[in-house]
């Protein structure tokens, strides 16, 4: 079944700056990706236009891509597994790459990783080998910034819900997001943001129907 998608809602500017239109406004189609350079102080909003869409995201110091987002350094230093407003997104050198400055969802996963053709085979079987996957998108869009296989770290899954239990269990649940909900990053230094609009069709992270995301950026 293919869902009918209506036009995206018009996005308002960030709080405190409502009159300024975005300098970056792009739609990432279902299963596609993007590479965006955000200067220090710039704000990038990722809008879940239709709800329940996983936005797999990697961040890199634009001056040194070896200094990249580190999921486990980030959760340890903030003392919490989930990301939300106020979360400092740290690098493998403990540098702050960005801060989540707005979030209308409430929490986001960063331990579930990104889908790959190879991990899809492990999880679902050989028949999914040639389905598109996030790490293909990361490689396709990251190449322009010199980001290759060795530069891929463990990512953020904005809008995705991966509950972890105190008994050490882990599961995938329906997302907590809804149409029009968004998360906004403020860059702490010049960064690359590498996104894969997840094409996953085998688990509920996209509500079984990958849909477009919108990127809105405000910077000078």
């Amino acid at each position: 079944m293919t869902a009918v998608h209506t036009s995206p809602a018009v996005a308002a500017g960030p709080a405190g700056n409502p009159a300024n239109g975005p300098v970056h406004d792009a739609t990432i189609g279902s299963g596609d990706g993007a590479l965006v350079r955000v200067p220090a102080g710039g704000r990038l909003r990722i809008v879940d236009l239709f709800g329940n869409q996983a936005a797999d995201t990697l961040l890199y110091d634009a001056d040194d891509i070896d200094n990249r987002y580190s999921a486990f350094d980030t959760i340890r230093e903030q003392g919490a597994v989930f990301l939300t407003t106020g979360s400092r997104l740290l690098s493998t050198r403990l540098d702050e790459l960005a801060v989540i400055t707005d979030d209308t969802v409430g929490r986001h996963d960063t331990i579930g990783g990104a889908c790959a053709q190879e991990s899809n085979v492990i999880r679902y079987g050989e028949h999914v080998r040639h389905q598109h996957a996030c790490r293909q998108t990361f490689l396709a869009y990251g190449a322009a910034a010199g980001i290759g296989q060795r530069e891929l770290g463990h990512n953020i899954n904005f809008f995705m819900n991966v509950p972890v239990t105190s008994a050490g269990g882990l599961q995938f649940d329906d997302g907590l997001s809804a149409p029009g909900k968004y998360v906004e990053l403020t860059a702490s230094r010049d960064i690359w943001v590498l996104l894969s609009n997840c094409p996953q069709l085998n688990n509920p992270c996209n509500g079984w129907d990958p849909t477009p995301l919108q990127l809105l950026g405000w910077w000078s």
């Binding site: 340890r76 991990s119 492990i122 463990h154």
Partner: protein, 232 residues
């Protein structure tokens, strides 16, 4: 009996290639040991991937008979035995900043007791093999436990989780590079007294169809099967 054994002192780092079909046993030589461990595949590009390992086996900790999986969906090693049912894989590796609470340390003052972090040790060891900082992925912190509150907003390190003599045994499923640091866990608040770890390497018995890691989950079996094809 073993092919060889090696003792890593506390606070040190070490790396070694291990051929496929070996049993690698880590034994804590003191209480509260921590062994931050990276595993790299036979081609020295394919790395242990903790998120993939966890989501494929629906666990937020490492314990037998889980299979440690790579970026490329291959089995690197299977956890075939352990005296502990929880090894941390959420806490990441310690940085030099985490050692600051112990005060300044230098080779001039401390000689070989100079305190260096897991981050420094792991990058140094990776570099010896033509790898480096960009190859850093999340480690398994063997012998440590970090648990999570039900709301996900609290991570807690469990002091006293391991004691001298605790063990974990990995079976290598392909030729791997094992990189370890015995620096303190970054969430530990104990005084600086990192325990050493003994590494013993033995030949693994031939694996049969009833192997615990093969029968654990369909996902574990598929990772092992993909590796069998890759080395066939």
């Amino acid at each position: 009996m073993s092919l060889y054994a090696h003792e890593i002192p506390g606070g040190a780092a070490w790396s070694t290639p291990v051929r496929a079909g070996r049993l690698v046993t880590l034994t804590a030589l003191g209480d509260d040991a921590n062994c931050s461990t990276l595993i790299v595949g036979a081609d020295r590009v394919d790395r242990m991937n903790i998120p993939d390992t966890l989501k494929a086996q629906m666990s937020a900790r490492i314990l037998p008979p889980m299979v440690l999986m790579s970026d490329r969906g291959l089995a690197l090693a299977s956890v075939v035995a352990s005296s502990l049912d929880w090894h941390d894989c959420l806490g990441g590796f310690g940085h030099d900043a985490h050692l600051a609470r112990f005060g300044p340390s230098s080779y001039q003052a401390d000689r070989n007791e100079w305190r260096r972090s897991a981050h420094t040790g792991l990058v140094t060891e990776l570099t010896k093999h033509g790898l480096g900082e960009r190859d850093l992925h999340a480690p398994v912190n063997f012998f440590s436990r970090v648990s999570i509150g039900e709301d996900g907003s609290s991570l807690s390190f469990a002091p006293g989780h391991s004691v001298a003599g605790d063990t974990v045994t990995l079976r290598t499923e392909q030729d791997v590079l094992i990189v370890v640091s015995t620096a303190p866990h970054p969430m530990s608040v104990a005084a600086y007294a990192p325990a050493g770890v003994r590494v013993t390497v033995d030949t693994a018995p031939v694996v049969g169809p009833d192997d615990a890691s093969y029968v654990f989950r369909a996902e574990s079996a598929r990772a092992l099967e993909m590796t069998r094809r890759a080395v066939a």
